[in-house]
Amino acid sequence: MRLSVKLAAAVLGLAILAALLAPLLPSAPATRIDLTRRLVPPVSAPPLGTDELGRDLFSRLLRGATVSLGVAGAAVLASAAVGSTLGLLAGERGGAWDAALGRLVDLVLAFPGLLLAVALAAVLGPSAKNTVIALAAVGWVPYARLARTEARRLSTRDFVAAARAAGASRARLLAVHVLPNVASPLLVQATLHLAAAVLAESALSFLGLGVPPPAPSWGAMLAGGRTHVLDAPHVVLAPAAAILVVVLGTNVLGDALVDRLDPARRPA
């Protein structure tokens, strides 16, 4: 394994560990406001200093990992579940189901980038659940396309026909015989999607449409510190670095996964 891949895996592992363990720590430092200790620079009492309301930046960064990675991870899982199910069904059934899915995909893709997620988050109101819904409403499309193409290709193969002839139900056919054959491209897609979902969650929070305060999310921390870039750049730099490291790590890992799972792209 290349050094960059090992490094990326280590960084991502640390971030996920922080996200899982942060809720076990006392939550008070992350949300306790202390206006007498605003914008304290790093390397003093709290290791990363404090933000514009005097809250401990390191605690917020850890808690923010739970919020940002939690929402992004949930959005990835929801997208993968919905997208693969729809794609497998449409691919195996064909006909009107397939055509309907195609129309739906085209419709979602008619909205550029985050627009649909922004619009949904705006009307549903800011909350962790609604952010997941908004991100998944856009995120399921690539999974559906992958699953649909594979299901279409496999549905004519002998082993699928044999299972069908043996009386396997449609659910069993898709789950036991087709899904394992689509698993690796779906996994690659999920890895790359995690990076995109972290970015999207942060963008929504940055715009004030994500998880509402006082829960710290990396995007919201960035937005909050923005007016203090001059006197206290650390407030912006800390969440910015966290986002950057996680996204870079996920992208490097995803690229390595593509190279490993896709023989056509394996480096010569």
């Binding site: 550029p112 940055f206 995007g219 960035l222 923005r226």
Partner: protein, 309 residues
């Protein structure tokens, strides 16, 4: 999919987008009119707004009048300013267009040379360096690179305005923010497409015929690498043109994206609907044009269309 069929699908997509945007307002939990006026609004005011927006009418009637209004360019009035939604949006279009063109031009000027250089130097240190920089570029979101640029150029060096559209050079920082990510993406795309075409036998054949290698690669491989790059660039241009929501917000750039965010914050839902519909329609039309253009430029796709006919 053959381009002609894609063009025929455009009206269908426009109808679909208008339908989605119509239903947005009905996704608001509870009474949309009450949500727009906020807590503490008098019941009579809420009832009045509900009537103004037509929310007291049956859903089908609302839908039909929304569609017929949209076709005529009438998307209702802003709740806050009472001005027509269409007018509010059109006032924001020039700023968005200016930013989009500047960012796109900047990104192309960087992406094409670096992508070509990266492909030609495949496996060499230059390639590794350029790929690392572009990976950083695609991984850096606008809300990180934007404030960092402000930190360096406006606050550190005092060269450029922090925000707004009026100061001298105000366009530079928001355009650079957008161009950085876009240039990284396009540079990777140029490298990947050109590297793939470079290995084809027709390039070796051209070199064997005595053409200089660099010329053979750029002339023959370049032509075939262009269409996929163009499609991606066009898609990206579409999303730039439709309002870079985050970047416009960071720099208080008075375009369609910031208008959308502002109207969300003010719960001005007719204006929200108008912005979303305008952005989607522009995006659909730009994409359809790019598809047609890419097909016209690609010798292989041209052959396919004629084969279909």
């Amino acid at each position: 999919m053959p381009p002609l069929r894609r063009l025929l699908e455009v009206p269908l997509l426009l109808l679909g987008a208008a339908t989605v945007v119509f239903f947005l307002i009905h996704l608001i939990p509870g009474d949309p009119a009450a949500a727009m006026l906020g807590e503490g609004a008098a019941p009579a005011d809420v009832a009045g707004l509900r009537k103004d927006l037509g929310l007291d009418r049956p859903l089908l009637g609302q839908y039909v009048s929304w569609l017929s209004g949209a076709v005529r360019g009438d998307l209702g009035s802003s709740i806050l300013t009472k001005r027509k939604v269409t007018r509010e949006i059109l006032a924001a279009v020039p700023a968005t267009a200016e930013l989009a063109f500047a960012a796109f031009l900047g990104a192309l000027l960087v992406a094409v040379p670096t992508g070509v250089a990266s492909a030609l130097a495949r496996g060499k240190p230059l390639d590794g360096f350029l790929r690392a920089v572009s990976l950083l570029g695609v991984s850096t979101p606008n809300y990180v690179s934007g404030p960092l640029l402000v930190l360096v150029f406006s606050i550190g060096l005092g060269l450029l305005p922090v925000s707004g559209r009026d100061g001298r050079g105000a366009l530079l920082l928001p355009a650079a923010t957008l161009a950085f990510a876009l240039a990284a993406l396009l540079s990777r795309m140029v490298r990947a497409c050109l590297a793939e075409e470079m290995d084809r036998p027709y390039v070796a054949a051209a070199i064997a015929r005595g053409e200089r290698p660099l010329r053979a690669i750029l002339r023959h491989a370049g032509r075939n690498a262009l269409p996929p790059v163009l499609v991606v660039a066009g898609l990206q241009f579409g999303s730039l043109l439709t309002g870079a929501v985050v970047t416009e917000t960071i720099f208080s750039w008075p375009g369609v994206g910031r208008l959308l965010v502002q109207s969300i914050q003010r719960r001005d839902y007719p204006l929200v609907q108008g912005c979303v519909l305008f952005i989607a329609v522009t995006f659909i039309l730009v994409n359809a044009s790019v598809d047609a253009l890419a097909a016209a430029l690609d010798p292989r796709a041209r052959a396919r269309v004629q084969g279909d006919a």
